[in-house]
């Protein structure tokens, strides 16, 4: 009895370690390697600042940096939210009717192939300054993955379920909302995870092309004043934001779809 509970607690500890310990260990060793490299080779902080230089740069003006982070975060979240909602809706419309899908999907793919970086200045022309064009760029950059993943989820309902639904002579709507949509959710989350990482990139690209507020603007301005540690601080904050948003989505997925992990290998 005690032996089995011992082995169980060991396996729980091992699972916890691989969930939280391993990522921490990986990040810590990368930091250590970076810090060692900058001190051993005596790299100038103008060229490549060490982690310590970055901490110092952050301590100098934490409020400013956090405020700019918040600006980038809101642009990211608003753009992502609109993209997720409209992407879902459009994918549902496209999969509902093959006529609409055939008519509009090539157009959608073509639009997606436009380099988003290239239209960032155009958005300023069309929408002016402020957060509007930035949110729009985020929306444009992360809309497509949501559409594609939702479509693939909605069209991958197993044949077994299809036959079951037909034998119950269930209405199209009931099958859609009780079978097809829930089955598509894991796929939809794949799209959301890709989209949230792209969303942060979109926000920064928009800020760099038209700097006023946000971490992208901090990077541009610090470059102009040759303040490399500040630029790196902004990059680190961006990375942290990206990781945090990504894992928030993972957590929501685990909470909503405990079955999805269990049925996949």
């Amino acid at each position: 009895m005690s032996v089995s509970s011992d082995t169980r607690s060991i396996s729980v500890i091992r699972a916890r370690f691989s969930a939280a310990g391993l990522p921490t260990l990986g990040a810590a060793s990368a930091l250590l390697a970076w810090w060692t490299a900058t001190t051993v080779f005596n790299v100038s902080s103008f060229f490549l600042p060490s982690p310590a230089d970055i901490m110092t740069a952050f301590r100098k003006q934490p409020e400013y940096l956090l405020r700019e982070s918040w600006v980038t975060m809101t642009e990211t979240l608003i753009g992502f939210g609109i993209a997720a909602a409209s992407g879902l809706l459009i994918a549902m419309v496209l999969t509902a009717s093959s006529v609409i899908q055939r008519a509009t999907l090539p157009l959608l793919v073509a639009l997606n192939s436009i380099p988003k970086v290239a239209i960032a200045p155009l958005l300023v022309v069309w929408m002016g300054f402020g957060q509007g064009p930035k949110i729009t760029l985020v929306l444009l950059i992360c809309f497509f993955p949501v559409v594609v993943s939702t479509m693939s989820g909605l069209t991958s309902t197993p044949a077994d379920f299809g036959e079951l639904a037909r034998s119950l002579s269930a209405s199209w709507w009931r099958v859609y909302f009780k079978v097809r949509l829930p089955w598509a959710l894991p796929q939809i989350f794949v799209g959301l995870k890709v989209a949230i990482s792209l969303a942060v990139i979109g926000a920064v690209v928009a800020e760099i092309s038209n700097p006023d507020r946000g971490l992208g603007s901090v990077i541009v301005l610090s470059g102009q004043s040759f303040d490399t540690p500040l630029a790196f601080t902004a990059l680190v904050l961006l990375a942290l934001m990206s990781v945090m948003l990504f894992y928030v989505i993972c957590a929501v997925e685990r909470l909503l779809l405990p079955w999805a992990r269990a049925i996949s290998a």
Partner: protein, 270 residues
């Protein structure tokens, strides 16, 4: 209860047409349990899908309770080889799925769902998710789901064939008990001679493609029957022997040899 009159079914494929069933006539009485047995590809499943209204016959007619079958009906339920449980729904919610699909009131049928789960020994599992259950338990849930709408006709397409031998026997025993209780008219498609003899009032033997009725054998052994030591050992073994001969017989082998020269007939290989 079920009348199958001169039913044929041909499928059009890219390589031409395949005749799955030819001129099948079958009368099944109210509450009767009929097993349909035959080699792979003899049209067993096609016959079942015709009765379910999932496909329509090329010729002939299927009648249930006197009315022709055109599309799936709510008093006919179907159970498949795979449990096909929705992985995000609890066991109880899976059993209640047909009720929701029909747009009936859940609260009116929840009690019956619990009762059915109780019958198959899954009372303690009703709030679990399907992946937490063994294959046999999942198929039990699928059986409860097929019974929730109180069907007059139950169609079963090799429901136990994906399970291990012991679980199959266990489930066949449970199905016998449930059929005695609920008396739904049942067509049970199977590969297993044992299952057919254990469960059926009559066993319909189909010949290989195109599927035709080769013989109908009455199983006049009193219930409850069991796989183990039985007082009717002689009758059981004589029916099993008959079915073996019918399914593996010389004429079929000669057909197989003619169709694929140089190859051993399927029956001898296995």
């Amino acid at each position: 209860m079920i009348k199958i009159v001169g039913v044929s079914r041909t499928f059009q494929t890219r390589k031409g047409s395949v005749e799955a069933l030819r001129n099948v006539d079958l009368d099944i009485g109210d509450g009767e349990f009929v097993a349909v047995i035959g080699r792979s590809g003899c049209g067993k499943s096609t016959l079942l899908r015709l009765v379910a209204g999932l496909i329509s016959p090329t010729a002939g007619e299927v009648l249930i309770g006197g009315t022709p079958v055109g599309k799936p009906r709510r008093d006919v339920s179907m159970m498949f080889q795979q449990p096909a449980l929705l992985p995000w729904r609890s066991v109880l919610d899976n059993v209640l799925l047909p009720i929701e699909m029909f747009g009936w009131r859940r609260s009116r049928h929840a009690e019956r769902a619990r009762h059915l789960l109780d019958m198959v020994g899954l009372t303690d599992f009703q709030s679990r998710l399907p992946h937490e259950l063994s294959g046999g338990m999942q198929q039990r849930v699928a059986l409860c789901r097929a019974l929730i709408q109180q069907p007059r006709v139950l169609l079963m397409d090799e429901p136990f064939s994906a399970l291990d031998a012991l679980t199959r026997e266990e489930l066949a025993g449970e199905l016998q008990r449930i059929h005695t209780d609920l008396k739904a008219t049942t067509i049970f498609v199977t590969h297993s001679i044992q299952e057919a003899v254990l469960l059926a009032d009559r066993v319909v033997v189909l010949s290989a493609r195109p599927g035709r009725i080769r013989k109908i054998i009455d199983v006049a052994i009193p219930r409850p029957r069991s796989f183990s030591r039985s007082t009717h050992l002689a009758e059981v073994s004589s029916i099993v022997a008959d079915l073996h001969e019918l399914l593996l017989d010389i004429e079929d082998n000669r057909d197989a040899l003619a169709a694929a020269p140089g190859r051993a007939p399927a029956g001898l290989r296995s």
